[in-house]
Symmetry: C2
Subunit: 189 residues, 2 copies
DNA sequence: GAACATACTTGACCTAGATCAAGAAATCAG
DNA sequence: CTGATTTCTTGATCTAGGTCAAGTATGTTC
């Protein structure tokens, strides 16, 4: 079973038939380090599963850039708002390393319901799951210190910390790289 | 047309038949000032449209409470994660004033697809819309100062500021009431 | 309309985290 | 291997916003 099928089965509880059908719409695609999966202002017309590598979601402001999230192996990536509402993407999505993704085209994505009867339910759960992830994140900003947010991310996404420049991690946590450095030193005692 | 029908039409583009059908599942309910619409740990088995009044979504921590959002007239309210995934609610939802809502029971909600063929699409758009709202909010914490976040909320939800204790507004913005007080004074010049 | 509670403002002070600057490590290109 | 970039750490300093405490409004209740 491919990683994608594995993921689809674990998270969406598809039966064998649906699993193969859904997975068959996803085509492999390679995004080389530094290349863009998506650029701000374009339409996001695809959804991808990350087979290997990493993508950084960020936006350019006048004087700096803000990293919204770093997507790693085994997760999906897209500009959901752009994909669903067909409006220009807010985010740049750029490869931090050579990245292999399995991509489904929006056209196929929008037709999944024709092939998999329970797709609408599955899609709803998928988007609702994205929602709760963000809800947790908002809550972290309302209730936690920089150090607590750092620890939370470190526990849940340890892989990022070994492979991604600190400045990006800091930005997605809403702090500076220096602050992360100091948190680390402090935690060494 | 009721406010609920008005809302459903504006946001979901239902035709007249669907509109009436959907709206008929919502029953009026009154939550008196101070009473709870939902309590942390319970299952959220309903979704409501706020006809009048205000509800505060918050959670109790050991040493303080954190207000996640204040829901006002013309918006929907629920613990979405609890409603969709049938897990215990994270949030308390309490009336800040006598509040009239139109409520649809989860059982009816889950069956809307049987009556309105395009419900799955509509529901997806609804949840995706909730997602983008939170995405904007995360972005505000990553990119804005306290004053900028205050201004953003003030422009978009002016009604809250005249009717809700400052401490709750401050909490949902991730700052203290004193900070809001100082921002206000500063803006008077 | 007292008496009491709740909300808001203001000042004095403090601190988490930012900024700036300089080195030290690590990574990369040839 | 070597010089050039990029990243990471550390120190010195600064500042946005927090904390604490007091005073002033603004409600409620009887």
């Amino acid at each position: 079973m491919t990683d994608l099928e594995q993921y689809l089965q674990t998270y969406f509880d598809f039966d064998q038939g649906d699993l193969v059908k859904v997975a068959s719409f996803f085509k492999p695609e390679i995004v080389k380090k530094g290349e863009y999966y998506l650029k701000t202002g374009k339409l996001c017309q695809k959804l991808s599963f990350i087979q290997s590598g990493m993508l950084r979601i960020y936006v350019d402001l006048e004087d700096r850039e803000v990293t919204q999230w770093i997507c790693t192996q085994g997760y999906f990536v897209a500009d959901l708002a752009s994909l669903v509402f067909e409006k220009p993407a807010r985010w740049n999505i750029q490869a931090l390393a050579d990245t292999t993704v399995y991509t489904i085209d929006k056209r196929d994505y929008d037709r999944l319901g024709e092939y998999i009867p329970r797709w609408p339910v599955t899609e709803k759960l998928f988007i609702a799951h994205c929602f709760t992830t963000l809800e947790d994140r908002v809550f972290s900003f309302l209730s936690m210190t920089a150090e607590q947010r750092y620890n939370l991310l470190f526990e849940s996404h340890r892989d990022i910390f070994t492979q991604v420049p600190l400045q990006y991690i800091a930005s997605m946590l809403g702090m500076t790289p220096e602050t992360i450095s100091r948190i680390r030193r402090k935690q060494l005692n």
